[in-house]
Symmetry: C2
Subunit: 216 residues, 2 copies
């Protein structure tokens, strides 16, 4: 009986591959159901290798959570920032990015929920969550501020923060229910709904976010 043939990867390639295999397994089988053996199989390696790169299973899973969160916000931010238009366009694109693929995804919501369920009881997860939330809120505030300013609405720091909390709640809730119940809605319902709702929350004139524009 001969050994399995294998190929060496660079440290970054291998780590990424392991983290992504971990996320797929956690989504499908849950946190404990994602056993080191299953993850290894998913990544096409043997179990021992996981411990070579991550000190323990907990280390691996924690890193995978951080990887996921970073990816989610980075994706949405990228889609907002690359918008060539004015502040309204950027905010609109950010909202829509959260209501369309790849961010609107059953798998990602499942992962996110699974991890969030542990935030209260495991400090490693709590730290990652807190940091992610803070970043996301800050990003949202920075997108909202110029929109309010352009409309001549109050846009002091406290105003922006309050609005950001509400809009963030709206996004999170719709993102979650929308991903889980994707089949129930038409593909454009959520993007339309979130832009309209955001206009109302911020007190913008109707159509200032959605008006005339077509989202891709």
């Amino acid at each position: 009986m001969s050994r399995k043939a294998f190929r060496r990867l660079t440290l970054d390639e291998r780590k990424r591959s392991l983290l992504e295999a971990t996320l797929r397994c956690v989504a499908q089988h849950g946190l404990k159901g994602a056993t080191v053996r299953r993850i290894a199989e998913e990544a096409g390696v043997t179990a021992g290798l996981l411990r070579h790169y991550f000190g323990s299973k907990n280390d691996l899973v924690t890193s995978a959570y951080a990887y996921l969160i970073g990816q989610l916000t980075a994706d949405a931010e990228t889609r907002a920032r690359r918008s060539v238009g004015d502040a309204n366009d950027q905010l609109r694109d950010f909202l829509i990015a959260n209501m369309t693929t790849p961010n609107l995804s059953e798998e990602k919501v499942s992962l996110w929920a699974t991890f969030v369920g542990r935030v209260r009881y495991e400090t490693d997860f709590a730290d990652i969550h807190r940091e992610g939330y803070r970043d996301y809120l800050a990003l949202l505030e920075s997108l909202i501020e110029p929109v309010l300013a352009a409309q001549g609405l109050p846009h002091a720091s406290a105003d922006c923060r309050r609005h950001a909390i509400a809009v963030n709640g709206l996004i999170d809730g719709l993102w979650m229910e929308g991903s889980l119940n994707a089949g129930l809605y038409s593909r454009t319902l959520l993007p339309d709904l979130v832009t309209e709702a955001c206009e109302r929350l911020l007190g913008l004139p109707q159509g200032s976010l959605s008006g005339g524009q077509q989202h891709t």
Copy 2:
């Protein structure tokens, strides 16, 4: 060595006690981490008894999820319906019920997230989720409709549904983030914020939900 002394309970008492012990364990240790032995210890019985009342661990956990969902909506509905005022008061009390204890609770959010993480991949959980979501949305629609009608706003079934989806997203998101980050906010921020945001989402005159009223 003598056996442990025990007391017999009625079927309902025992089942309830086991379900609640299960929820506490799932919150603290996750779905797989809530082992039958831990649950049994939490309930003050031995492991064998679980299988006497629930055919398998999966059966027990599924039942616990349904129990939790039922409890959450029932609590909020009760607090809305017992409101003696008009339609506005009922809607307001419903919103506030979701932003204050006992519903605003880290433990409940943790549980909810943990279960939601499995909805995509296990049909038992999916069924419970779908049903719960449908009920919750219907309840919300029924609370929104008379408020819109009283204001002379469009309140056809489609209008109410659209608004209910948005408001539900807002509630879910704020409830979740609010519970996890309870320490970050003052105790009245979320209730104030959710009522104001809901006014805006529905297009109600400012203060029509929050105005003058004091929430307990």
